[in-house]
């Protein structure tokens, strides 16, 4: 008997898509002087909306507005009052959650199940969490009188557009800074709805300024002499450029960069649970996650059986319309990203790894990639070293825990890792040996505003979430200085 799912699409009209979106500067929605961005629906390849983009003059205007708001209003406001604005924003996101989820899915291509159940509620929770810190900064562990830095320049990626906006804006505001933020070129829509929520919350003009644009706008923003703090989430290559260009300035920098997370499965692991965790680890958000578990390390004795089961489970993932509530794997965010994924898969094959691709049928249009698992990979292959940022898993085997740790740590990155074993001491011991900022024991891809997230090594520095996330936006130097 063959069973089929009936289509269960979410109503696209819920997203209240506009034909055109404007920048948000100094409390007003205005047209920028840059050339308009066209935002594409990755599930169809069709135009969604045009978005006004920033020029260098607009960056000056936004930074000046943020400085004025910082000097005249925000830095003078008691933390308890700042916090109440953040609580309002959290409520506003929750109230417009369904609209935001649909819009995010249209603009990004990720399944509605993810935007509805993860991206949007977690974004609201992030504001709610940091709202509560605004009047408790002196309890955060950075001295009795922690001070804001001033104007924060923030650049965020396209993989979690609204959530990354929340991760950046909420702690910055709670700590008393004002913000100029640039969303990714391919996903500017949800943050501009967030701008409406911010405006409706009555946040003083200039406290948050949103400048859509491409990489040149981001580069000009982080290098603007009027900003005191730079926070960037994106590729390691761009992060390195920013660190270099900020050398010699007094701007405080935090970087959340790429990853090549190892998911380590020991022979004694609960296999069904491990398979669910590995599938979540690499196929969540089409694998376009910096902390994705993109390297599977399996203990040799169970490798053959385990891989067969993993492939069978992966075959059942439904790839297709992101608005369909049954869809497991949605669209890749852009044609360029899809081309990069395909290029790296081709490199995996040509370097001698064995490629297995899910037989799932792909939609005829839009940017889709089928879940892919490479076996017989080695640590030196590009698919094992480079961040693919797609639904592609490379598999390596190991024999001993020491070998597993060595192979997991054999990367310049160090963002995430997973450990699957029923033996508690081994789970804790391996977690301690991994050079990764987040380790999931017998689970994967769990996030919470109360838990610090961030990387070792070339995955960046600084943390987001928890009290550590506040440190990124506070003056935490407490060393005496010679006059």
């Amino acid at each position: 008997m063959e069973l089929h799912y009936a289509p269960a699409p979410e109503n696209a009209a819920t997203g209240r898509l506009a034909t055109r979106y404007q920048m948000f500067v100094d409390g007003k929605f205005i047209d920028g002087q840059g050339e308009d961005i066209v935002s594409i629906n990755p599930a169809t390849g069709e135009q969604l909306a045009t978005v006004s983009a920033a020029s260098s003059t607009d960056i000056d205007t936004a930074v000046e507005a943020a400085r004025r708001a910082y000097s005249n209003v925000w830095s003078k406001m008691p933390g308890s009052e700042r916090g109440k604005y953040l609580f309002r924003i959290a409520r506003g996101i929750a109230e417009r959650a369904r609209e935001l989820a649909v819009l995010e899915t249209l603009d990004n291509g990720k399944p509605i199940r993810e935007t509805r159940d993860f991206d949007v509620p977690t974004a609201a929770q992030h504001f709610f969490y940091y709202a509560g810190w605004a009047d408790k900064l002196h309890h955060a562990g950075f001295g009795p009188r922690p001070a804001a830095l001033g104007v924060a320049a923030q650049v965020i990626p396209w993989n979690f557009p609204l959530l990354m906006a929340a991760w950046k804006i909420a702690p910055a505001l709670a700590a008393g800074n004002t913000v100029v933020i640039k969303p990714a070129e391919t996903t500017p829509l949800s943050i501009l709805v967030l701008a409406e929520i911010i405006a409706d919350a009555g946040l003083p003009a200039g406290v948050v300024n949103i400048l859509p644009g491409a990489g040149d706008v981001g580069s000009a923003l982080v290098n603007h002499p009027g900003v005191d703090k730079v926070a960037f989430t994106g590729s390691t290559a761009v992060g390195k450029k920013i660190q270099r260009s900020l050398a010699g300035t007094s701007k405080k920098l935090t970087l959340e960069l790429g990853g090549k997370g190892a998911n380590i499965v020991f022979a004694d692991a609960a296999q069904d649970q491990a398979i669910e965790g590995i599938v979540n680890g690499i196929f969540f958000n089409q694998g376009q996650v910096c902390c994705a578990g993109s390297r599977l390390l399996i203990q040799e004795s169970i490798a053959d059986e385990f891989l067969e089961r993993l492939k069978a489970r992966t075959s059942s993932l439904r790839v297709g319309d992101p608005l369909d509530k049954n869809t497991d794997v949605g669209a890749i965010n852009s044609a360029a990203q899809l081309a990069k994924i395909n290029e790296l898969c081709a490199a995996g094959t040509s370097e001698g790894a064995a490629q297995w691709t899910s037989p799932a049928s792909l939609p005829e249009r839009g940017f889709f990639a089928a879940p892919t698992i490479f076996t017989e990979a080695t640590s030196s292959m590009r698919i094992s070293r480079e961040e693919i940022f797609g639904p592609v898993l490379s598999t390596i085997t190991f024999r001993t825990p020491e070998e597993a740790i060595a192979k997991a740590n054999n990367t310049p990155y160090g963002l995430s890792a997973g450990v699957w074993t029923e033996k508690g001491s081994r789970a804790m011991g391996v977690a301690a040996g991994l050079k990764a900022g987040v380790v999931w024991d017998n689970t994967f891809n769990k996030f919470d505003p109360a838990a610090a997230f961030g990387g070792y090594g070339e995955s960046g520095f600084g943390r987001e979430g928890g009290p550590s996330g506040l440190a990124a936006y506070l003056e935490t130097d407490d060393e005496g200085v010679l006059q």
């Binding site: 380790v439 999931w440 017998n442 090594g457």
Partner: protein, 295 residues
């Protein structure tokens, strides 16, 4: 007949040993009046490489030592320094021209600073980490870990206190360090290395190179096996160029505004600069068994 004294040959301190520079180069150390004191090793890039190799090994054993043990070892350095106070007093007076009282004051401060950091080792995780109250059936906690290998420049003023103020906060959390000594007082740095060598500190935890920071640091700043830089004692120009070099491997850089006042009570910025926060998640079984989460 006056007895001829036996002067010391000053060498480098790498991996617990005192090798000459592989380059064979030396330079002359003068006292405050310009008179010859000793020849010091002029470290090369290859010495820098050897020091990083040693530091990586030292970090592995030091990070695995218990916090109690690390605290005891750093306290032991303070004990050894107290025992060699006359050596340091004489060396400081001769090399820097400082008064006897001034030298004693600096030695007191250096010993007290070591004791301060000895007491930090087993409190870092409690102060900078903790349980995360996550909204789900998971036990989640965040705790600090050492960043790894740190390359540092020693402050020029107060040479003994400067060494301690730079090294102790780096190593207290389990990092190892490759320190480029102040060029004018390498004899103080190597005298301190002798103190370290008799303090139960595992080999390679502290490595000291004497010579020119401007020659050695660029190599360390771009070395892929160095995780962080302490540039607090570097000139503004060196801070800029070293941060640029560090960006190639996304190193952590400690470069606070202004010139640190090492005599002031230390805060925690230096400790925090060289720690990573690691978050670990684990399902909470009882709730999982109640079917609210399967993994």
């Amino acid at each position: 007949v006056t007895r001829i004294t036996v002067p010391k040959t000053y060498k480098l301190y790498i991996g617990g040993a005192f090798p000459r520079s592989e380059s064979g180069r030396t330079y002359q150390v003068a006292d405050s009046k310009g008179n010859f004191v000793a020849n010091a090793a002029l470290a090369s890039r290859k010495d820098g490489r050897d020091a990083v190799t040693s530091a990586r090994k030292g970090h592995a054993s030091w990070a695995n030592a218990t916090p109690y043990n690390r605290g005891q070892v750093i306290y032991r350095i303070a004990e050894m320094l107290e025992g060699r106070r006359e050596d340091f007093s004489a060396a400081l007076i001769r090399t820097t021209g400082i008064s006897k009282a001034g030298a004693e004051e600096e030695i007191d401060a250096a010993i007290d600073r070591l004791v301060h950091y000895a007491g930090w080792t087993d409190k870092l995780a409690a102060v900078f980490g903790g349980a995360n109250p996550v909204s789900g059936p998971y036990f989640s906690y965040s705790a600090p870990e050492p960043t790894g290998v740190v390359a540092a420049i020693a402050p020029a003023d107060t040479p003994l206190l400067g060494l301690v103020a730079a090294i102790a906060p780096i190593i207290c959390s389990g990092n190892s360090v490759v320190l480029v000594a102040d060029k004018d007082t390498p004899n103080i740095a190597i005298l301190f290395a002798e103190t370290l060598a008799t303090s139960d500190l595992p080999n390679g935890v502290v490595n000291i190179l004497t010579g020119r920071a401007a020659e050695i640091m660029p190599y360390l700043a771009s070395h892929a096996d160095v995780n962080a830089l302490d540039l607090s004692a570097a000139s503004p120009e060196l801070r800029t160029s070293m941060t640029e070099a560090a960006s190639g491997t996304v190193k952590r850089v400690y470069s606070p505004r202004g010139e640190p006042n090492l005599r002031a009570a230390p805060g925690t910025a230096r400790i925090r600069a060289f720690m990573e926060i690691k978050t670990i998640w684990h399902p909470v079984g009882a709730v999982s068994l109640a079917a609210r989460g399967s993994y």
